[in-house]
Symmetry: C2
Subunit: 382 residues, 2 copies
């Protein structure tokens, strides 16, 4: 294994009814006033918000609200949150939702203790050294944001999706109650499955060195996602499947899946960020189009690992068969694998390639992924 540092201080509170203790979890950090962030008012209709408020009140924690966070979350919303957080002098943030709400909250948490423009952190002009304490209740399992120090935000003015990464923005406590994730539509369940698989395979395939033990953990995560997604599509009420699905999502991006690896890259995310920045398609849907194309374009660079993938995940013998099996599985669960399914035709691909390439420096991939090469990949998804 290559040298590494591993530390993940987030406390996970996993299971039924855990949201009822959120006030206790927050009180341990001496937070007396909190900003609750969320997307739609679904959490008010289904009673979750009420439970949270009851728990906060039991600990005398005041709260204010920031609602309307959408998927592919926007920088403008982050600015709005920072303004509120500063004016109201909140001492922490409680995100209720999925990765978009949590990522917005992480950016607000860092931006609230910074005197300048929070975008400085995304554009490498400044480094995050402190943030308000972050808590969350996850109503969607996908991004893994609940156990890492990353956040992705779209700057709508320049149509770019950038990310931050810092020790200060690991959530203090993440509540994962699989029951709260039951109301996710099949469409979003499927996109979430794709997202988790994308997080799993980026390091697995791109690393110039990937330890056997780490690869084996990754394979467990992928196999878990495949089997539990199929169960959940048949039966929304399968708590067991939903809990393993949620835990696989968390494990896929909490650092354990690249431990001891070298040369990990995120080309699929780089390209997909361009797709969703320009077309606002769901991140997971974009990934399920980009991934099989990228895999077909890339696999000869790491044939052994692609063969291992084919064998371990699908019991198949060649790299290409493995890629085709994954693409077929995406189709089977109802996730798109061709641009035509988004009504994106060949004439739009240059713009996507250009946008993706403009991110390539940020992803450390500017030399490997020229505009021409990205276009080659995109064409494989026509």
């Amino acid at each position: 294994m290559k040298n590494f540092t591993y530390c993940n201080p987030t406390k996970i509170e996993f299971g039924k009814d855990k949201e009822n203790k959120i006030g206790d979890y927050i009180a341990e950090f001496k937070v007396k006033k909190i900003l609750i962030t969320y997307g739609s008012d679904r959490i008010k209709k289904d009673g979750l918000f009420k439970k949270v408020v009851k728990s906060l009140k039991s600990q005398n924690i005041e709260y204010i609200e920031l609602s309307g966070i959408q998927s592919n979350p926007l920088l403008s919303k982050v600015y709005e949150g920072i303004k509120v957080a500063k004016e109201e002098k909140v001492e922490g943030i409680l995100a209720i939702g999925g990765g978009s709400v949590l990522d917005t909250s992480k950016a607000i948490a860092a931006g609230s203790l910074y005197q300048d423009d929070v975008w400085d952190f995304f554009s490498f002009k400044a480094t995050i050294t402190e943030a308000l304490p972050i808590f969350d209740i996850m109503t969607l399992a996908a991004t893994g944001s609940e156990m890492n120090g990353s956040a992705v935000i779209t700057n709508e003015e320049i149509q770019q999706k950038y990310f931050i990464n810092a020790a200060a923005i690991y959530p203090k406590v993440s509540v994962i109650n699989p029951d709260l994730q039951k109301s996710v539509s099949n469409e979003y369940l499927v996109y979430s499955a794709v997202d988790i698989i994308a997080h799993s395979i980026e390091g697995y395939f791109t690393a110039t060195y990937h330890p056997n033990i780490t690869a084996s953990y990754v394979e467990t995560n992928i196999k878990t996602v495949i089997s539990t997604t199929e169960k959940l599509l048949k039966n929304k009420e399968d708590y067991e499947a939903r809990s393993e699905f949620a835990w696989a999502a968390t494990q896929a991006l909490n650092g354990t899946s690249t431990v001891g690896a070298e040369g990990v890259e995120f080309p699929n995310h780089m390209i997909e960020h361009a797709v969703s920045a320009l077309y606002n398609v769901p991140h997971g849907a974009g990934l399920s189009v980009v991934m099989p194309a990228w895999m077909k374009w890339y696999y000869k660079n790491n044939k052994t690992q692609f063969e291992r993938f084919a064998k371990e995940i699908f019991g198949l013998n060649s790299a290409l068969e493995g890629i085709e099996a994954l693409e077929k599985w995406f189709n089977k669960i109802g996730s798109p694998t061709k641009f035509s399914q988004f009504s994106i035709d060949e004439s739009s691909l240059s713009a996507i390639a250009k946008n993706a390439h403009s991110n390539s420096n940020f992803f450390g991939l500017d030399e490997k992924y020229t505009e021409d090469k990205i276009l080659e990949i995109l064409k494989l998804a026509l």
Copy 2:
């Protein structure tokens, strides 16, 4: 998955030459005077101690020493360490060695901030709420103590081996440099392999409920230990094998291998603690005798999981074949599987059973494991 709380704040610094930065890691916690604990003077002969001192000096950290810690570490040594730590007003402990040195250090760290007898923590008379910060450089991979809040100590006066578990005694930073573990003898490498497998299987087999994803991680750890042990017995210099072996050891007891499980018990450890408390055999050696016997005695209670074990680990089809394959593997690598190999004969088994049963309440196993039942198990290892 069953409800759980997971939090593991230990920072792992893994890889070549990491010990040279130990002063920097300790300085981050504002510790200016430290107690260095170790076993024999091997660390002075091989240059490790010198490197550590150089790094401490670069950060102006003073140190004093406590040496002579032996395997199956003793309470008397803990008392000695607490006395020194209090008199010298040290602000942290740095353990250099394996699990015995680290466990002793954890007990010292908790005992140094407690006004009464540290044994109170082991006998449930008091709860650990604070401890001096603990750091370690692991020269042996086996116990997993480098990433958990547990410690096992033998009270030689009453011939009992008890343990403590508390959030306050998780190490702050653990240095795992596989190169430093090269000098471990084949004998201790083998006992370490058995210990890691024991940590892996206790929860895997005893849990009344064990999630599929968690079981799969455990199987990865076991398979990693088996393959890397064989490589290391052939070639001590195989850094790759040694690093995966070390990481499997850490993973086996850092909480991830029982996540979401219910009803986890430690009967093999309960029985082995009696063996090594009475006969001072190495913990791993004792486990390799106890485990196959316990498995033969127990497997009908959880046949599905034993069949899964046989299939996943050895590609075999029945529970008994899996148990026999493990026993055979222990023999193959040179670990004992019969009491006769320790010159313990049938006449001694009653005393072991009695000692083990006297711990059974402590392990929460007093009803399931009567003296008679423990004797039945022990007889299977004659």
